[in-house]
Symmetry: C2
Subunit: 238 residues, 2 copies
């Protein structure tokens, strides 16, 4: 049984079912576990003794929230995390997560000049800009931001779907980031079937009944880890 | 610098500051991370191949909520978790966390006869009955429940303060549980200074500024773990 790669619509449906009255999860819970999984992925690949400086780039939506949680955990893990939010989110939870980062002394980079300067002293980028609800085209200010990130040549860890990629078609138009590492949340999306780098799965909160209902065929996570590597695992899609 | 052991009042104050407007954490977030730390502690000491069956005993308050989160994560880790809630909590978050356990197919044990039967087929007890807001005496139904747990001789992992112990005076009256393992949350409490078993710390979410303000002198957590063992670490109290 191969792991299932999801359409954008199915990813949305699973997200909704986790948080409706039957699923009973709060957004705070899921975001905390997703963000922790993202931070653990950075730590699994980029040792903090060699790659201490992580620039966490956050979009305005829920994936940006995952990034804020990841930045805080990276700070707790001993990384020098910084935040870049070209378009900060307006939701109350986003403000709270940002405040938690401020309290953990995580600096925020503002504007494209600061971004360029910051990239020169960054060892890793955590790309939490666009998630599974992204639809092309890439709009302002991200049409300017994504090329700056790409041109920096700093290694990139993307969350769920590399920013700029179509959730189902991938990087067909070539305008998206080219990450070295990908952390898919809940289950991978159709658009990353051809991804060649190191691939991890996070979101160890999907109940077995839901996994079976959606035929996700998730791999076993090791021990008490919140992530499992799925590089080169065979895939199936429906 | 030795780790600080907290009074009940100080533990309460730190909890409040984490969740007020300045601290910005939600109860959902803190409970998720605390419960995950409890589950990781069980997994660190009791290998699931030898000790697969964990009975999670939950009180009606926030510590019971930590227990519900831990039970769910233990289920995700591959343990056979069961719940026992002699007095279920009435808060909305408690109901949601219980529902998440139901969705993860974690059975609930009801009544003292079922408890006794369940203990005969349990390998570990996770004691999440009373937390740092407990004040003696031990009231009904817990005056009956605690002796049943003790008499079972099943190894116990206690959360924060072993149930029945005074938060500052410990088990002076001898009516509390005698756990093998303790997982202190945020910082250990005065009452467990004399605890002789394996002792872990969880709650890797205290910002450095708050740690310094309260002179907690927390030890370094390893890697991306949510727990750190503090057995035999020197203590200080104020």
């Amino acid at each position: 049984m191969s792991i299932r790669y999801l359409t954008a619509k199915l990813a949305q449906q699973i997200d909704e079912e986790l948080m409706n009255a039957a699923g009973a999860f709060s957004l705070d819970q899921l975001m905390e576990l997703a963000g922790l999984a993202c931070a653990q992925t950075v730590a699994a690949v980029f040792d903090k003794s060699k790659y201490p400086r992580v620039l966490v780039c956050c979009g305005p939506g829920n994936q940006g929230g995952d990034g804020l949680v990841a930045a805080r955990h990276l700070g707790m893990f001993g990384y020098q995390a910084s935040l870049y939010m070209p378009k900060p989110g307006s939701k109350e939870i986003y403000q709270r997560l940002k405040k938690q980062c401020d309290n953990t002394a995580i600096p925020t980079v503002t504007g494209e000049d600061e971004l360029r300067a910051s990239l020169k002293s960054s060892d890793v980028i955590l790309d939490a800009i666009f998630g599974f609800s992204f639809k092309p085209p890439i709009r302002s200010p991200f049409d300017v931001v994504l090329p700056i990130l790409s041109e920096s040549r700093v290694p990139i860890v993307s969350v769920d779907i590399p920013s700029g990629w179509d959730v189902e078609e991938g990087n067909a138009e070539g305008l998206g980031l080219n990450p070295d590492v990908l952390i898919s949340l809940t289950a991978p999306k159709l658009g990353v079937r051809s991804f060649k780098g190191r691939h991890f799965l996070g979101g160890r909160f999907v109940p077995k009944t839901m996994e079976e209902k959606f035929q996700l065929n998730l791999p076993a996570y090791p021990g008490s880890s919140q992530i499992v590597e799925i590089t080169n695992l065979p895939s199936s899609s429906y």
